[in-house]
């Protein structure tokens, strides 16, 4: 495909969307179209294969690392355990059997979602994780939404006329913000709003005002990066031929920016937005620790520190599934939004 053809296709993409977003069969030139249903099934199957691969890999890695780096029975017995107790624990948990038998049993149990009980309080490991999940989920969701609400307009504004002084200053500011890790943002927020001004509570989950700082902290992990990508994409899109054509047809600056340039810029930022969830979950661990937030991240840190491995395995399992659900959702959303994804390469 030549350069010119590709550009023509982009214009067609734009027009297709204007005419009918659901018009699946509309194709540009010699490009074949795949039905949405088929594409959806294909995407789900691919993601499912990746998820199975990931779960197998990570749990196997953890399983063997735990047994190679130390004696799990000794961890269970604690400092007070004598030889007799150790033997008893080994028998009870099956640590006396060969490693491959243990591994087989572990895999079979994972299939039926049985991760065992927490070593700390004998509660069901998966139950403990699910208990904490809603809090973390809400935090991630708020941060994700806030991030998009702030990043998309700001990125579009910065990228629309990148050479003006105000926007240059703005871009520099975003660049500096990108250099500030989220945990430092969190500590500075606590310092300013809890310690100096005494406006917001610094720890725990005590009503709506205690959500503000954790959400900002978590959003700050990714917002600068999203803003920069969108701004770069928008400023590139504004130089494209289809924008010039639209301008020649008499479209105003705002129409150009918000209707044409931003739409295409957003499509380029898909991968980043999908990967966001993974980053946000990583960030939520630190955020929850800083703000003493009773979520999954803090449960993970506590159980990792105390080597409570049933809970760690369960938490890693749930996090992987959660990440894959959101990635697949993003994939599917973009199949519906972006007509180019429905086209097979000719």
């Amino acid at each position: 495909m030549t350069d010119r053809e590709e550009k023509n296709n982009r214009i067609n993409v734009d027009q297709d969307e204007k005419e009918d977003a659901n018009l699946v069969t509309a194709s540009a030139g010699d490009v074949e179209t795949i039905p949405v249903a088929q594409q959806t099934v294909r995407t789900i199957l691919r993601r499912l294969a990746e998820l199975v691969f990931l779960l197998l890999f990570v749990s196997t890695l953890l399983f063997f690392l735990l047994r190679l780096t130390g004696d799990p029975a000794a961890i269970l017995a604690g400092e007070t355990g004598d030889q007799e107790q150790l033997e008893l624990i080994r028998k009870q948990y099956g640590f006396d059997k060969p490693l491959y038998v243990q591994y087989g049993v572990f895999l079979m149990k994972m299939l039926v979602l049985d991760f065992g009980t927490s070593l700390a309080n004998a509660q069901d490991a998966l139950g403990l994780v699910f208990e904490r999940l809603p809090t973390s989920f809400t935090l991630v969701l708020i941060a994700f939404t806030a991030n998009l609400i702030i990043s998309i307009p700001l990125g579009a504004w910065l990228g629309s006329r990148p050479d003006r002084t105000g926007r240059k200053l703005g871009s520099t500011g975003v660049f500096i913000l990108q250099g500030i890790p989220g945990y430092i943002t969190g500590l500075i927020l606590i310092q300013v709003f809890s310690v100096e001004l005494r406006w917001l509570p610094s720890i725990g989950n005590q009503g709506p005002e205690s959500w503000i700082m954790p959400a900002i902290t978590l959003a700050s992990f990714q917002a600068p990066q999203v803003i920069r990508v969108i701004s770069a994409n928008v400023s590139e899109a504004m130089r494209e031929d289809y924008i010039r054509t639209a301008r020649a047809n008499g479209a105003g600056f705002n129409t150009l920016l918000w209707r044409h340039a931003l739409k295409n810029a957003m499509l380029g930022a898909t991968a980043l937005i999908g990967a966001q969830v993974s980053f946000l979950i990583g960030g939520s661990i630190i955020t929850e620790v800083i703000f003493a937030w009773p979520g999954l991240g803090r449960l993970l840190v506590t159980s990792v520190t105390t080597l409570d491995f049933p809970v760690v395995q369960a938490a890693v399992f749930v996090i992987s599934v959660f990440v894959y659900l959101s990635i697949t959702a993003t994939d599917l959303a973009f199949i519906f939004i972006d007509p180019r994804l429905r086209r097979q390469r000719a």
């Binding site: 953890l62 500590l187 980053f279 979950i281 990583g282």
Partner: protein, 290 residues
Amino acid sequence: MTKNSSSKIKIPSTGSLQLDLGLVMFFVIVIALLVQLIFLGEDFLDGHLRERLKPPGYNGPQGGYHIFGTDQLGRDLFFRVMGGLPWSLGISGVAVICVAVIGTTIGLIGAWYENWIRTTVLLGVSAMIAMPFLVLALVVTALFERGFWTLSLTMGFIAWTAVSRVIYAEARGLLTREYVLAARLFGVSKWSILIFHILPGLRPTILVMAAFFFAVLLIIESALSFLGLGAPLNAPSWGNMLSDSRQYLVIAPWMMLVPAVTIVWSVISLNLIGDGIAELSRKRARAVEV
């Protein structure tokens, strides 16, 4: 490298303001690291409990002048931040070398083979990318004894996935070029093609990724130490200093600000270098096209 020839006094320049600034900022860090390694060592890391939690600029009767103040054990924050340089930069430096080597190798392997090897590489890489990096690093480092090599190698062996995906895409593009086809027709072996024909073309990409990952790994290293699972407890790593500072935010905010500023300085300098190299290679590509 082009010289800035427009002004009379010749300032050496790379042609990108960002890269220049980033390199200058990084130069400061390198000088500080050399000073630390050659002159300071671990001599000044101990503190006097009598001078605990003193503000920046405190002039003590026996411990001397504390330009950045002291922490909860009376340790001088300037010397601790300097002592943290080999830890924080060393750990992320070793890790970024692992990331570049492993990521490039796997990416090239995925790009060369067109059979099940590619399928496996792509499947594995996209699966691993989905796993939050911090979660994996957290869980794995907890199992080993805390130390320099544990931390750096763990991070290096986990973080390469994103690099290999980028290298894979770039390398596949390069493999379709005519000079590669010519080399193949002449019967050049696959490793020779990959190393002598493809790898040089990937250099700017690898440099950009390395600069960004250096920054990312620096942040992750401090984050792990901050969570109490990174560098050994008594090591003066910047994450440990931040972690200590949490309990004294009210009475000694400088304990947080000093390591925070050094982390931000390093990250920004690395981001500037990465952006600058990317900008330069874009400019060069455009110049070739025209």
